[in-house]
């Protein structure tokens, strides 16, 4: 590995280090000028001419969390060992993101145009059949075919759902729901600095130490015990007509609460909390639609849930978490696997709610094997096919 000489314009090590900090910042590690100084100080404490030592020292100093810890080596190599650096400016190795490039998932999927356009008649139907068949080895195939045929029945109101105004309303509804879920108070009173009532018991106990004089007045109040929301949204082919509305809905859920978490899944799982928090809501919607379309195809609900439980789940779930799953329940994997994943999730989360767009349909019965396997593990299985149905959820969630 050859060490790149400093570029002609660089002003020695300090300048190069500032460049490195800027390079890390561009790759998502929040660092400032303060760290440049710290980094130089750290290098003075080690044998800085040994790249291995410099790497260890800078990693300990500059990395803030586990994700960055794993990616640091690539970033380090890209900056300090990139041959041809002088000519290319800051373009780096393929692992490393530069501002101009976007991950593949954000690029529009070639053959897959906007699901929300609601093209006429047969063409649309056929596309959905196609997307589903792509996965091939499905169990519960008849279930998915039913879904495909009935797409035509609901298309009209769904097309109405696609305009800007309705998306905003879906988002507003979700925000209200998120607040209804989040605002909980504990039943027990705990010590509080202000508000609430006087805690006579504690005051008396403390007064013993002061010879029976109640000098310290303690108070107790019911502390807030906010519920966290973790939303998992299915963006597979069969759900693509709902994708836009549900993404807006997700954004509403996430926006109301800084601790909420959102994921999209399909055959893979992807965390989209950060994209959803984009301040520019149009840009966020565009980013997400691109992500969602990038997925396309069949569904692996149980696989995605298992991936979630093994990965993010450990941190995302606790006894004060409501898990919201948005899916039609058509899964290509075995129902037992789904039941198993939900059992595991059940143990870690407080409530599991399944929002099913099919459930609002007339004569809907949960016949798909996956949803039948899932039902015993759910706290609620609620319809979500129209805005009115979504709005009605607020009361349901309030009672959970």
């Amino acid at each position: 590995m050859g060490v790149t000489p400093f570029p002609a314009r660089a002003d020695g090590i300090a300048d190069r280090m500032a460049g490195f900090i800027a390079h890390l910042r561009m790759n998502g590690i929040a660092l400032g000028p303060q760290e440049t100084g710290d980094a130089l100080a750290a290098l003075s404490q080690v044998n800085a001419t040994d790249p291995a030592e410099a790497r260890l020292a800078l990693r300990a100093l500059l990395v803030p969390d586990a994700d960055a810890w794993r990616g640091f080596d690539d970033l380090f190599d890209a900056y300090w060992f990139n041959a041809g650096k002088q000519k290319q400016g800051r373009t780096t190795s393929p692992h490393v993101r530069v501002q101009s490039t976007r991950p593949m998932l954000w690029q529009p999927h070639p053959g897959d145009d906007d699901a929300g356009d609601g093209e006429e008649g047969f063409g649309d139907d056929e596309r959905h059949v196609h997307a589903d068949d792509g996965e091939g080895d499905a169990e519960g195939t008849d279930g998915r075919l039913i879904a495909t045929r009935t797409d035509a029945l609901t298309r009209r109101d769904l097309r109405e759902l696609m305009d800007e105004d309705t998306l905003r309303r879906a988002e507003a509804i979700a925000t209200r729901i998120a607040r209804a879920i989040r605002d909980r108070r504990s039943r027990r009173r705990k010590q509080a600095l202000r508000d609430g009532m006087l805690d006579m018991r504690r005051i008396q106990r403390a007064s013993l130490a002061r010879g029976g004089e109640p000098i310290d007045l303690y108070r107790k109040a019911r502390p807030p015990r906010p519920m966290r929301i973790v939303a998992l949204c299915d963006v597979s082919g069969s759900m693509s007509v709902y994708a836009r509305v549900f993404l807006a809905f997700l954004k509403g859920l996430i926006g109301a609460d800084m601790s909420a978490d959102a994921y999209l899944f399909h055959t893979r799982l992807m965390r989209v909390t950060d994209a959803l928090r984009d301040h520019d809501s149009l840009r966020a919607a565009a980013r997400l639609s691109l992500m969602a379309e990038g997925f396309g195809g069949g569904t692996d609900i149980s696989g995605s849930l298992t991936a979630f439980l093994n990965g993010y789940g450990a941190r995302a779930l606790n006894g004060r978490t409501v898990v919201v799953i948005l899916s039609d329940g058509y899964c290509t994997q075995s129902p037992e696997a789904l039941a198993h994943a939900l059992t595991r999730m059940r143990r870690k989360a407080r409530r599991i709610v399944w929002l099913n767009p099919l459930k609002g349909w007339k004569d809907y019965a949960p016949v798909a094997a996956a949803i039948q396997a899932a039902l015993p593990h759910l706290d609620a299985h609620l319809p979500a096919n129209t805005l009115a149905a979504l709005a009605a959820l607020e009361d349901e969630f309030g009672q959970l």
Binding site: L56, D65, R315
Partner: protein
């Protein structure tokens, strides 16, 4: 005194029976030389807490430990006035007719809790703040002042500046996200499950008498089990427990007694689901590989 580098530190730690990899030795070295706190993250049972203990041992300095929990407040972490003693002093001075109360708020009546104790040590010490992710966010915010300025303000006494700067080690199991402000002030090291060679070195360091063949088998089996789909992946601590159990039972070869092996798995697998995930057949396959 020879100049300390991360390599000499690593050797010192090895002297106390702690096998540190380069990145952790470097992080500790920088934490000591730059005077910055060190945040250790990683799964449970990989020896995060041990690092602080080993560091204190290696440098022959005192270790002060603050175990965090939900609801930890200033009176448990920083200081508290000794009310009973103050009261007795008042009664005593009443009896003798004295009225002086100024002496009631002095050092003599102050109960020092770990944080205040750590900064008022005459010699630098190691301050271990264990499982910081369990403490409330308010406490984390309070900690920021102490970690950046090394001073504590007590309204009745004024600001107490650090007599010596402790080396601060924080550990976290990532049960919740720590604030960016705290992360920025700390050096960071991620402690992962050790690879086979490191784990073997750890086992040999902790149990010097163990047979080489058994040690290799134990490490290989544990590494294999970590690859299974488990809820609670066994850490280094569990591996050492298991090794102790096996040598206590006089097992010399894992392949010799499958029943005994299953029985001792309680040391590694801590939930019912995990027990079910590693039935005898899986264990036989794993042990078959190493035997």
């Amino acid at each position: 005194m020879t100049e300390r580098t991360h390599l000499t530190l690593k050797a010192d730690l090895a002297g106390t029976g702690y096998v540190a990899d380069d990145s952790i030795a470097m992080a500790l070295h920088l934490a000591m030389t730059l005077g910055r706190p060190l945040l250790l993250e990683g799964p449970a049972g990989v020896g995060k807490t041990e690092i602080a203990k080993a560091l204190a041992d290696a440098s022959a300095i005192r270790l002060i430990r603050l175990q965090c929990y939900e609801g930890l407040d200033a009176s448990h972490a920083i200081y508290e006035w000794n009310y009973q003693r103050q009261l007795l002093a008042i009664r005593a001075s009443e009896a003798t007719g004295g009225t002086d109360e100024a002496h009631l708020f002095t050092d003599a009546y102050l109960l020092k809790r770990p944080l205040l104790e750590a900064i008022s040590q005459p010699e630098p010490c190691v301050l271990l703040i264990d499982e910081i992710d369990r403490a409330d966010e308010e406490f984390e915010a309070y900690l920021l002042e102490i970690l950046s300025d090394f001073q504590i303000t007590i309204p009745e006494l004024g600001t107490i500046a650090a007599v010596s700067r402790p080396t601060v080690v924080l550990t976290s199991n990532a049960t919740r996200d720590l604030s960016d402000a705290l992360r920025r002030r700390c050096l960071y090291a991620y402690v992962d499950y050790p690879d086979a060679d490191t784990e073997l070195a750890i086992l040999n360091a902790r149990m010097p008498g163990i047979e080489a063949r058994l040690a290799r088998q134990i490490v290989t089996v544990v590494q294999e089990i970590r690859r299974e789909d488990l809820e609670k992946v066994p850490g280094t601590a569990e591996m050492l427990d298991w090794a102790a159990a096996l040598s206590g039972l006089g097992v010399n070869d894992l392949a010799q007694d499958a029943e005994m092996l299953q029985a001792t798995l309680v040391c590694l697998l801590k939930t019912a689901a995990d027990r079910d995930a590693v039935p005898t057949s899986v264990m036989d396959r794993i042990v078959g590989k190493v035997a």
